[in-house]
């Protein structure tokens, strides 16, 4: 396989096509437009495929719902304010156990906010941003390569667990160019789920619904969803660890922030500070166990996010008060530099009296 140079947004589109995505529905919003445009150029005229520029994000996610009913791999993408609009549809997808991939190339909020990269949609993504008791798998890439890899994985996970999967990127990842390698070729035949709604031919008619006048029926749906969620937590939690073995201080960061942190940690190590990093790749399921395990070896945690502190709540749940946790964040679309994070790490390191390399 050869390396190609691509924008993050385009890499997602290409990876989706190679994963067998058959239908894409989107609505323009910065900073993810290159993805919609990539699909218009490269998916819309493909045999058996369809692209629709919808009249709204609400319509787009409901088109995804329709295409998923028909048993095909389907996706939509947007950025923060547009993802808010999609929450209704995501709740219905989760309720009806329909696979779908939703890409959020997030930007600064709240409100119309800014078009610069931010991570302030962590709560919305990981807590189930719509109504009702449900979860979505949330994947947080931190490079263009990973955008492509996780896009493929998102489609596989969605089908495997019949669940909507969110790819939580940000404006920085979407807009930057990096070399990457596509590990899969587009399938020669597009996959169709066996439970697709395609007319009651040679089988009894099928209903896809959640509405019921019997609460116990809906209760059982909720229980069954949560049994599956427990399985996903067990099987699919993924993370990256970086120099944690001897680390006195562990930085917890995801996505673009983790890249920035990595640069800072490299320099901190050069200065003799024993710093490592845990980068959750699945934000839900969150690697609670790994964080908990790290409390045995590390003295202090620093959570670094491009927001006011959202993932820190999950870190706190995992640490259970066994270690102290500090936070550094820049909200609103401000992207901190590695040297800024290095200053934070260094100050914290000495302030807490952590041991340096001899």
């Amino acid at each position: 396989m050869t390396k190609v140079l691509m924008y993050g947004n385009a890499a997602i589109g290409e990876a989706a096509i190679r994963a067998g995505c058959q239908c894409y529905f989107g609505y323009p919003i910065t900073p993810q437009n290159e993805l919609t445009e990539y699909m218009a150029t490269n998916l819309s005229r493909r045999k058996g495929c369809s692209f629709v520029q919808a009249e709204s994000e609400v319509a787009a996610i409901n088109m995804v719902y329709g295409a998923s009913l028909a048993g095909v791999r389907t996706m939509t993408s947007s950025s923060s304010p547009g993802i808010s609009l999609k929450q209704e549809g995501i709740s219905y997808l989760a309720a009806c156990e329909l696979p779908a991939v939703i890409v959020n190339i997030s930007r600064g909020g709240p409100g119309l906010g800014s078009i610069s990269a931010a991570q302030s949609d962590y709560f919305q993504s990981t807590r189930g941003g719509g109504h009702g008791d449900y979860r979505t798998i949330v994947l947080a890439p931190s490079s263009v390569q990973e955008l492509a890899d996780l896009t493929h994985r998102a489609f596989d996970l969605a089908d495997k667990y019949r669940i909507p999967v969110i790819i939580l990127g940000d404006g920085m990842l979407g807009q930057m160019m990096e070399p990457l390698e596509f590990k899969y070729d587009a399938p020669s035949e597009l996959p169709v789920r066996s439970d697709a709604l395609r007319g009651a031919k040679e089988r009894p008619s099928r209903i896809v619904k959640t509405f019921t006048s019997r609460p116990t029926e809906l209760e059982e749906l909720n229980w069954s969803l949560f049994r599956r969620y427990r399985l996903i937590e067990k099987e699919e939690t993924t993370y990256e660890i970086y120099l944690v073995e001897d680390a006195e201080l562990v930085v917890v960061a995801f996505g673009a922030a983790a890249r920035i942190a990595k640069g800072a940690i490299r320099n901190a190590r050069a200065n003799g500070l024993k710093v490592g990093m845990l980068r959750p790749i699945t934000l839900w399921p969150f690697p609670y166990e790994k964080v908990s395990e790290l409390t045995q070896t590390t003295k202090h945690f620093l959570v670094f996010e491009m927001n006011m502190g959202q993932m820190i709540e999950d870190v706190k749940l995992a640490v259970e008060g066994k270690r102290e946790i500090s936070f550094y964040g820049r909200p609103g679309g401000v992207i901190p530099t590695p040297s800024e994070v290095l200053r934070v790490i260094t100050r914290l390191y000495y302030q807490k009296g952590l041991k340096t390399e001899k």
Partner: protein
């Protein structure tokens, strides 16, 4: 003995939960008669809305999937795009199609999506208890227009079918009613034509059906049928609104309008 009346094959053996005099059960029956006659039961996929007719899937023996309120046309778009061999229809009320789902409806029509909408206009939100709908008549009392719909404050009854008829992608639109045997027959014919437009791959089709809601209108079934005839049809005149299914341009392609 010759059977002159039977349950359509596409209609499940289940007792309707609808109120006495309600139009839904008639429309359900008409739909299934059309499915049988056109032999499309195994191709049709229905998208019922939230509301009284969410339970349409208890009666229609076809593939069905519920939709969020107002999103029927978008869901149908996705389904049809993913699987063009299906015959996809939405079944929507006036609040669903003409208030919360206005954008989805107009744009699906404008794209000429090969889908059909069955639009039940009963001038109120039925399942939620008789609130004002976009189609509520002027001066009509509902639970949210207790003094009667004041057009100065609450706007006018909206003629959705006429609005949708303005977009090129809509090829067949007719308004009918289910308040008399003659109108019921016309409704069935319109439903048939709407599905034919989809089978012929021509564009978006819509049948608006004036349908009695005696419970929320606080009338008995007979009064409600008469009210459709005497009051509703004044605001919502029955008949063909648009039909470009036969039009062809010089190249032999069908012209949109």
């Amino acid at each position: 003995m010759k059977k002159v009346y039977r349950r359509p094959k596409s209609l499940k053996r289940a007792a309707f939960h609808y109120c006495p005099g309600c139009g839904h059960s008639i429309v359900h029956r008409l739909l299934t008669e059309v499915f049988d006659e056109m032999n499309i039961q195994d191709k049709v996929i229905g998208i019922p809305p939230p509301g009284c007719s969410v339970f349409a899937y208890h009666y229609l023996d076809i593939d069905m999937a519920e939709s969020a309120h107002g999103r029927g046309a978008a869901v149908a778009t996705g389904l049809k795009r993913a699987y063009p061999d299906a015959l996809v229809f939405t079944y929507q009320g006036d609040g669903d199609l003409a208030a919360i789902g206005t954008a989805e409806t107009i744009h699906a029509a404008n794209r000429g999506e090969r889908i059909t909408s069955i639009f039940i206009n009963n001038a109120v939100y039925g399942m939620t208890g008789g609130q004002m709908a976009p189609t509520t008549l002027s001066n009509m009392k509902t639970t949210t227009t207790p003094y009667g719909r004041d057009t100065r404050l609450e706007g006018y009854p909206i003629r959705m079918s006429e609005m949708v008829a303005l977009v090129k992608g809509a090829v067949y639109i007719e308004r009918t009613a289910v308040n008399s045997p003659a109108n019921i027959k016309k409704t069935k014919k319109a439903i048939r034509k709407a599905f034919q437009a989809q089978i012929d791959d021509l564009g978006y089709s819509l049948v608006e059906i004036l349908s009695p809601c005696p419970t929320n209108w606080k009338m008995n079934p007979l009064e409600s049928w008469q009210w459709v005839e005497n009051e509703m049809t004044k605001e919502f005149p029955l008949g063909l609104i648009k039909d470009t299914t036969r039009t062809k341009d010089s190249t032999g392609k069908r012209d949109a309008d």
